[in-house]
């Protein structure tokens, strides 16, 4: 019987400090057993449990894309016991990852549709995965227009800055980057919050346009009315939830919203689904 | 008891009608014999649900922590002492409270009742000092004194130490009580016997934290057992973790515990957890002449320095 709690052993290949406050680091893992990489076949939007011996596990969205081979990437915010220990670890260290877990963004539904990605702060990880996935030459033709709205407090708090700059140069994706404020005179993108920017530049909602929204609660709170005004149906607004998790496979009982587990039935839900469940996230 | 109950209802109804308080905390009739449920009456009509009998052992002070309303509360001797402690520890303001004092004649231990009839109990009827137990095996009458909670048998403060109104004249306090016989028995053990005793005592513990959560002193926002940076105690039912939990919890109650018995009453596996707090109560009495919750005017011993505090343990 396969043990769904057993992590695949991985080696940390690279640690990248992403943000100026040094609280966000991206970890690139390589599987110790090559066959495990095949078993870890994932879709953008799924997550995994990162396992640190002696400390425990944390559920983290997968930041790499299924189209990137040979490694998996996670961007981890330093908050608790496990993430702090992880931030102390270095390339070469051995740990474990368990997954892929949860559902993903609904790629079958999104095929042939316009996709509007709205992200804030460090909740951009699975959105990066999605963008890389959609921009891949094998996949780009499967989607209509792609819009990306991404905001952070300051330029130095933006994740994946090199990639953002590269996407900005392309003509098959519309990238709108913003920061709450900056004193950098050379800042060439937007200044201000996500909701007004989205109100101004996002395409109107229709049957063929879906929005994927990930960010801090305050951003979500003020973005939702904007999307309502733009005419997005609640089943066309897709969100990824977070809750405390342990097992990641719907068994340990803590992460449910109503009858659904965020870990197994989610983390991706449409706003229409979320509206019919208790707000316990 | 019925007179108490009528008086409690009348006072509670009056307080709510006159808007002196926003709510009254008391007990309502439980759904099983010997169990009453802590209850909050918010209207004068609801006060008819308030009851009083010998099964009101839960310490209602537990329900006061950090509340902001004006509250009427039914308090027996130990409850009132914990209210004093709560006020001293700034968990509630004296001005917020209207204390309905109940002279207590001791609470009945449901386990002793069950043992008396060796099993199921359908109904328990009180008549003064006699208690009639009805069960499938027939009726049995016992003397109340024989089935009291252990802490009630040893209680020297049955009358509330603080109150705004009493439901009856004070009852006579128990005298000639040897409150610390059980503690002395353990103090007399040698090291190995003590260890064996504690291990056996705590072996059934399932770490449900009913003792902690029933205790009005245990209001910390995060209990030390729930801390994880650093993690002081393991989460499993390992014997060492169980002991660490119980020992440390008891120490946190030193000089504060009123021996209300809520912990022992709540324990689903019948552990005599009071033995720990009783030892600290004895030490506080012997070293500092201190009993918790008697007065609003004195600070607890672990709160103040006095030059005459015993210090012969310092080498």
């Amino acid at each position: 019987m396969e043990n769904p709690y057993l992590p695949y052993p991985v080696r940390i290949d690279e640690v990248i400090t992403e943000t100026e406050d040094k609280n966000l680091k991206t970890f690139k893992f390589v599987f110790l057993n090559e066959s495990d990489e095949t078993k870890f076949a994932y879709r953008a939007g799924q997550f995994a449990e990162l396992s640190v011996t002696g400390k425990g596990e944390i559920p983290i969205g997968i930041a790499s894309s299924p189209t990137e081979k040979g490694f998996v990437k996670f961007t981890v915010n330093k908050v608790g016991l496990v993430s702090s220990e992880l931030h102390n670890m270095q390339a070469g260290d051995i740990m474990g990852i368990r997954g892929p877990l949860g559902n993903s963004y609904p790629w079958d539904v999104l095929e042939g549709k316009n996709v509007v990605i709205i992200g804030g702060g460090f909740a951009f990880t699975t959105l990066r995965s999605s963008i890389i996935h959609m921009l891949h030459p094998d996949n780009r033709a499967k989607f209509g227009d792609i819009h990306v709205f991404y905001g952070a407090r300051t330029p130095g708090m933006l994740l994946y800055r090199d990639e953002l700059a590269a996407w900005e140069q392309r003509d098959d994706i519309n990238v709108h980057i913003t920061v709450d404020s900056t004193d950098d005179p050379n800042w060439k993108y937007n200044v201000g919050l996500i909701p007004p920017l989205a109100e101004e530049k996002a395409p109107p909602g229709d049957a063929d346009t879906y929005a994927i929204v990930c960010g801090p609660p305050i951003m979500i709170k003020f973005t939702q009315p904007v999307l309502d005004n733009l005419g997005y149906d609640h089943d066309h607004i897709i969100m990824s939830l977070e809750n405390r998790m342990k097992c990641g496979i719907g068994m340990c009982g803590r992460c449910n919203i109503g009858k659904d587990f965020v870990c197994k039935d989610g983390p991706v839900f449409t706003l229409a689904e979320i509206n019919t469940r208790p707000k316990e996230y | 008891m019925l007179q108490y109950q009528d008086k409690i209802q009348a006072i509670a109804a009056r307080l709510l009608k006159e808007c002196k308080v926003d709510l009254v905390i008391g007990f309502r009739r439980g759904t099983v014999p010997m169990m009453n449920e802590p209850y909050v009456a918010r209207t004068a009509e609801q006060t008819t649900n308030l009851i009083w009998d010998s099964h009101c052992g839960i310490n209602l002070t537990n329900y006061l922590t950090d509340r902001k309303e004006k509250i009427g509360i039914v308090a027996k001797g130990c409850d009132s002492r914990n209210i004093v402690t709560h006020i001293l520890e700034n968990k509630i303001e004296r001005d917020q409270l209207y204390i309905i004092g109940v002279p207590c004649q001791g609470m009945v231990d449901k386990r002793k009742i069950a043992q008396a009839v060796n099993g199921a109990v359908d109904q328990v009827i009180e008549n003064g000092n006699e208690i009639t137990i009805k069960g499938p095996a027939g009726d049995k009458t016992v003397t109340k004194a024989d089935v009291l909670q252990n802490n009630c048998s040893l209680c020297k403060h049955r009358n509330p130490t603080i109150h705004d109104e009493m439901v009856a004249e004070p009852v006579a306090e128990q005298t000639d009580i040897d409150a610390y016989e059980s503690v002395r028995a353990i103090e007399a053990m040698d090291i190995d016997a003590k260890r064996a005793y504690f291990e056996k005592l705590l072996e059934p513990c399932i770490r449900c934290y009913a003792c902690r959560n029933a205790c009005p002193l245990c209001y910390c926002p995060t209990c030390f057992v729930d801390e994880h940076r650093p993690q002081w105690v393991g989460k499993s039912t390992d014997p060492v973790d169980n002991m660490t939990f119980h020992f440390l919890r008891a120490y946190h109650c030193a000089g504060r515990c009123t021996d209300c018995g809520a912990c022992e009453r709540a324990c689903p596996v019948g552990i005599k957890v009071r033995i720990f707090t009783k030892k600290l109560e004895k030490d506080c009495l012997e070293l500092f002449g201190w009993e918790a919750g008697l007065s609003l005017d004195t600070r607890p011993p672990l709160d103040v320095y006095r030059p005459e505090d015993p210090d012969d343990f310092i080498k």
């Binding site: - | 390992d238 014997p239 310092i314």
Partner: protein, 49 residues
């Protein structure tokens, strides 16, 4: 609690009393070495089923 007397000791040492500090530490370590390793309240490995 079942801990041997001697495993816990309190001393009052002023910051000026460096020699007393050394003496006390030596005294306590000697006393504890004489008692041997503690066996009580020591968790070797979690007891698990």
């Amino acid at each position: 609690m079942g801990i041997e007397p001697g495993r816990l000791q309190f001393s009052w040492i002023s910051s000026a009393e460096s020699t007393k500090f050394v003496d006390v530490v030596n005294q306590v370590t000697d006393a504890i070495k004489a008692l041997g390793p503690n066996r009580y309240l020591v968790k070797n490995q979690a007891k698990v089923a």
